[in-house]
Symmetry: C2
Subunit: 280 residues, 2 copies
Amino acid sequence: MESQDLRIFKCVAETKSLSKAAGVLGYVQPHISQRIKKLEEELGIKLLTRTNRGVTLTDEGGALFNYAQRILLLMEEAKAEVNPNKFRRFLIIGASQTVSAIKIPSLFSSFLKEHGDIEVKIKTDRKQALQEMLSYGEIDGLFLSGTYNEAQFERVYRYAEKMVLISPLYEAREEKDQPTLLINSDVNCIYRNRLLEFSKEHHIHKASIMEFDSLEAILQGVRDGLGMSVVPASVVKSRGDIKSIQYQELPEDVHIDFVVKKGKQRSQSLKKFSRFLGSL
Amino acid sequence: MESQDLRIFKCVAETKSLSKAAGVLGYVQPHISQRIKKLEEELGIKLLTRTNRGVTLTDEGGALFNYAQRILLLMEEAKAEVNPNKFRRFLIIGASQTVSAIKIPSLFSSFLKEHGDIEVKIKTDRKQALQEMLSYGEIDGLFLSGTYNEAQFERVYRYAEKMVLISPLYEAREEKDQPTLLINSDVNCIYRNRLLEFSKEHHIHKASIMEFDSLEAILQGVRDGLGMSVVPASVVKSRGDIKSIQYQELPEDVHIDFVVKKGKQRSQSLKKFSRFLGSL
DNA sequence: AGAGAGGTATCATTTAAAATGATATCAGCG
DNA sequence: CGCTGATATCATTTTAAATGATACCTCTCT
């Protein structure tokens, strides 16, 4: 009985299927079938009852499953103990408010479904501060948009997001010559810059500007008729805000990049996360 | 990192030597060297410091050693839990008083040096009773001498032992026509029978007979001048009894056999014990 | 009843890893 | 200096893992 047998068996127990387990582990189904068979022969006991729609654990299989979990966890722990830098099981990922608010929650929830043993922390800060953290190794990776220090960082994933210009509904709108611009206080924020650009394009010169450091505050400001802003499309689309806010899609996409430090040894967890992003 | 790597590493840590570990595990030395090297590369850390006379653990190696012990123990536990009959880690061995007194202690002490995880119990009883126990599966194996039920049992090991006729020193001897015979109360005891045979050979017909069920009692009886007996040579040789007892080696050896039940599935522990006996 | 979907089992074959054998290297010791 | 007793390297063999093709079973849908 090798630890690999336990990994395979654990996966079979969890998926309740030889073929599903094969899929998850990246093997071909007959291999799983044979490994389990061999394990059963070695232990001298049936671990699974095979049915035409999957398998279920026998009592002994259940007992082995418990042990398998404990043993495999201990092996992970051992690796983490011996070389914490390489095998630690948590990730610290940086992201701006706008990115973290929208994409991150769903992203990590599906990541964690596959890798339940990895802990994830999100650090939200200004783009510049986050880059410094990544540079000093305080965080493992960083979601950002726009330019970044390409000498130091390396992009491992990119996705595109629509931007929308949001403004108050007519009823809520305050009466003024020029609208107020509600922007993020981070001077590197791509949405902030897009809004300022937009105001130039439309010759809104004397607009008053309010800075916020939270996305929620900006949205509430728009709802209350305070002024207009630019945010990721998914912010308004994923909420009930469609009724309380008027929005208009901007023609170009914003690209969100996930970058890591160049040259640095990547932890197992970071590798898994990168692989996960690549598989999307 | 596979469990096999941990087994190898554990053995290296215990023997403090790659070549010794290779010997113990039945591998060739370069293989151990490569496995450890690969493990170190995988973990990204040195586990051993190599010297010209063996190896010592680094701090990280020590940490891994702790985990390895726990993990491997858990794996043994898992097997024992899933199929207790096959993987239980204790043996119950039967032996007559005469055998158990002499050979067993040293035998098991060296067996346990190699297999510290196996528990051993010795059951001492009459030869017939022990054979019944073996037949009913109450014991795993049995040391005996002379004939046994060959249809049911199978010999896996045999060793020869000298017999000695012991008698009191001249000073202690009681004055009688015929000596008293001190014999084991087990009618199947080979020493008992040898003594009775001896007495016939020497035409000692009217000897009085005393039966004892303990070897110690017989020895003490001889010391006290009560009479003569036949015991394994090692009994008198391994003690300080050479001065208090007079002895004479008998010409033929007695053969002690270790037998197990035919056809029965042998537990891992029993297999290990048989292999150990074979290696003597 | 027949065809298809979705699962497991079997088996011959390929591929990768374990294990070996021969040999090199290094340090200590008489 | 040459021997001993240890580890390292490397080409080779042997063994085990993994695959691909295919068979088989049972349930479902038409």
